[in-house]
Symmetry: C2
Subunit: 506 residues, 2 copies
């Protein structure tokens, strides 16, 4: 395999110590990236040929083989991320579930949105025979995330959704966990081969230069990305210069507001204080759904909530963050808060990338633009508001992946106003809970208004597959030129025929 | 109403004479654009409140009132476009049908993609109560097209789809038909008011400056555009600079290849020659689906096809194109073809913007990049190919709205190869027909790969509504905070409940 010219082996860094170990992985050279993309093109044709049942078998084989390698996968990921074995064990469960869930989605077949219109007369004249369904876009580039070495990286949700759609995948490994990425890549490729998928169904590339080559490769038809604004802006710039700018599905920062109404605080101040600390420090505060901005009513109930949060925060151990860059950004962000009223954990950060969990307490009048930006890591901004300030505050909030409201058990007009204001600002409206933890389900939505770069789709849940499909209509096509799902007679998938919904034939 | 400072009244130009008449319409000032957008925001809230039945009634009232004003609408549009009364009469039929069709789509309710997942256990842990559906994005900007003064302009498909979704619409009138746009705007606004829709449901703005103000207005959540690359590039640049770049649904140029296989030519040479001339000269060749590039087999059958086309073309009258700019571009484009083998109509262009229909005949070896670009107007490029050249030619084709194959009646391996090569290059695959004329239907697809700026959706057909919707998930929401379509019990719309498709309750 050809590496980038003069390339040095990639380091694997232990966040608990900050020590780098030399791996035998080299940054992927641009010629090799092109070769992966070429194989992905051929593989995509073959993935269509093996059909929905074939792809479902591939996804299940991948889940099985990941679980079979659980011990090695979890241990490797733990060394590279310091997220801890229990969390990574759960993340592997989620990852395997996600692969199997997409096998079900593919078998169900409704995702194809199959429609058949037979010829007919209309007030605008005769209608031809028209049949429409979604087809795979082609090879997909997936950028692994720093914070989910499994569930949003090589074997993650984007990979599962793209493969389910019928698109071969080239993953750009995140630099924070190269050994985990390489290991998962080997497991998935072997599972794919075992289940009858072609070579090139899944491959992994390493290094920044490889990422650049990937998004500009003519074979790539869509890019999914989870990460920060700077990286996303660079990639979007490259894509805009393509002769055919392709879709870029980016999940970037998100402050994820959590609003506590007066009634919510009156009824559950201590519980909410504890709960939100648990949520914003979970996994070192390195969730894209971390509640970063908490609106707390001024007054005695709000004070009790803040006291409860402070007490809970005091007990939180200092986590090692994922990499040096994240730890440095966190330290710089906390330092920039300067004279703000800070509440911190009592644990002293030790070796490696450990940091001290923190909360900032400000009055609504002091909420400046800097506090409305995501700071990655175990920190949240608590904003005390007077009742008349709530609407104005909500109107200032940027778009978020998820917005949470803690209201009263009975009618709570303040909750209703908050929900109305938040609905246009988020992809998920959560009531009386905590936003970290995104279930994989038919009804899930993980996305939202800008800064999600594609506001119309989701990156988690069944419909995440829609990102890697596009529609085609066949007009007056001979039977043999139609996909099986669009031919007359019994259909293997649900479809709409002449305007009427028809379930799949048994 | 405030117009742009120092603005002059807009001219209305008759393409048959080139003469401009002064109208009483002024370019819309930026403050007035902002006022329209603000009213559209309020109207969007109200359009949601009146519900799907209310919006269906509004769409039907618009169709009724357009038909009631047929005589005036068609006469006004004919003066400004020279498309002729029969065509405009048909276009009004299409426009009214389209409005009523979207009323059906809204009543059907499947477009909401409603999903309910009750709480449950999964291998990744407990799943909360999650419910998801699509909601309107907010006010939409629609840019009217030059070539469809009705069906893709003020009362057109984008307007119908956006209103159906629940989004108020601000239309930027195309400069080629200001009086038609103003007339249709008055009719639609009055119909909306009569049917109980709020003020601001539909409004029309005029002039380039208004278009700029429109796409940068914070209230606007999506832009649909039908037109050329230059205008689209300028608008996309403005949108990219927004703090929240919004979706831009652009239908730009398209060459729409039409491939005749050896068997197709052998069986139907004369018929295809006549048919394609009829298609590429229809409406003055000013259809986005005009077959602009025709691949004809070299040899006797292909020669017969070309002879038939030449004979048909000789008879085509010289059409007046839509405006001076289009007529000048056409003349310049034909002139740039220089020494190519041209076939032309015999009719002499007369007054106004009349031009001479033309076909270019080249061998495959002489097909340069310039010939692969759309030239708007009554012109097509006929390319003679030897059998071994077909695959290479197909691989050079850019993305198109529609691709057509004329094959043999029996098995035709050349057709199958062409279809396979074209599938990734188009949104609609048409067999043995002509691509102009896009039926409004559940199964329609009008879009495709770049240069469609959004490759995942359609601008014609039922699913055009999807462009003006985005998903939201509600997690653990109290019943009263849920939209009616997501509450437990009988549902007014089809939905998926705990993974199973459930039809709407009767």
């Amino acid at each position: 395999m050809s590496a980038a010219a003069g390339a040095h082996p990639l380091p694997s860094v232990d966040p608990r110590t900050g020590e780098a170990t030399r791996t035998d992985l080299l940054p992927t050279g641009t010629a090799e990236v092109a070769a992966h993309c070429a194989r992905a093109t051929t593989a995509t044709e073959e993935l269509e040929r093996i059909g929905r049942a074939g792809r479902a078998a591939v996804l299940r084989a991948m889940a099985d083989d990941l679980e079979a390698a659980r011990e090695e996968v979890v241990a490797t990921a733990d060394r590279e991320t310091a997220l801890g074995r229990p969390r990574l064990d759960g993340e592997l469960n989620r990852t395997a579930y996600q692969l199997r869930f997409f096998a079900e989605v593919v078998e169900d077949g409704a995702y194809l949105e199959a429609v058949v219109d037979h010829p007919g007369d209309t007030p605008m004249g005769p209608r031809p025979d028209l049949r429409r369904m979604l087809v795979p876009t082609g090879p997909v580039a997936v950028f692994g995330a720093s914070n989910f070495p499994l569930a949003f990286s090589v074997p993650g949700g984007d990979t599962a959704a793209a493969l389910a759609a019928g698109c071969a995948v080239v993953v750009k490994a995140h630099g924070s966990h190269p050994l985990t990425s390489a290991l998962c890549g080997r497991i998935l490729a072997a599972a794919a081969a075992r289940a009858g998928a072609p070579e090139g169904t899944i491959s992994v590339v390493f290094g920044r230069e490889a990422g650049t080559a990937l998004v500009t490769d003519p074979a790539i038809t869509a890019v999914s990305f989870t990460g920060g604004h700077a990286g996303a802006t660079a990639l979007r710039g490259l894509i805009a210069q393509r002769p055919d700018p392709i879709p870029f599905f980016g999940e970037l920062g998100s402050v994820n507001p959590l609003v506590v109404t007066a009634a919510g605080a009156a009824e559950r101040a201590a519980e909410i204080g504890r709960g939100l600390v648990g949520s914003f420090t979970l996994g070192g505060g390195q969730f894209c759904t971390k509640p970063g901005l908490v609106l707390v009513p001024a007054g005695a109930d709000g004070d009790r909530l803040v006291e409860s949060a402070a007490a809970a925060l005091a007990e939180v151990p200092a986590p090692a963050l994922l990499n040096a860059g994240i730890a440095e950004s966190y330290a710089a962000g906390v330092a920039a808060l300067g004279g703000r009223h800070l509440i911190t954990a009592t644990a002293e950060p030790g070796a490696g990338f450990e940091v001290r969990p923190t909360a900032v307490l400000v009055d609504a009048d002091d909420l400046d633009a800097a506090l409305l930006e995501e700071l990655f890591g175990p920190i949240a901004v608590l904003v005390r508001y007077a009742p008349e300030q709530l609407t104005g505050l909500l109107d200032r909030l940027p778009g978020s992946l998820v917005a949470t409201v803690h209201g009263g058990a009975a009618d709570d007009p303040e909750r209703d106003r908050a929900v109305a204001a938040l609905r246009g600002r988020t992809g998920r409206l959560l009531f009386d809970g905590y936003p970290t933890g995104v279930a994989v389900a038919w009804a899930q939505q993980h996305g939202g208004p800008w800064p999600a770069t594609d506001t119309q789709h989701t990156s988690v849940g069944a419909t995440a597959i829609r990102r890697f499909l596009h529609p085609i209509a066949w007009q007056n096509a001979p039977e043999a030129s139609l996909p099986p799902e669009l031919r007359d007679g019994p259909s293997p998938v649900p479809r709409r025929v002449d305007g009427i919904a028809v379930p799949a034939s048994p």
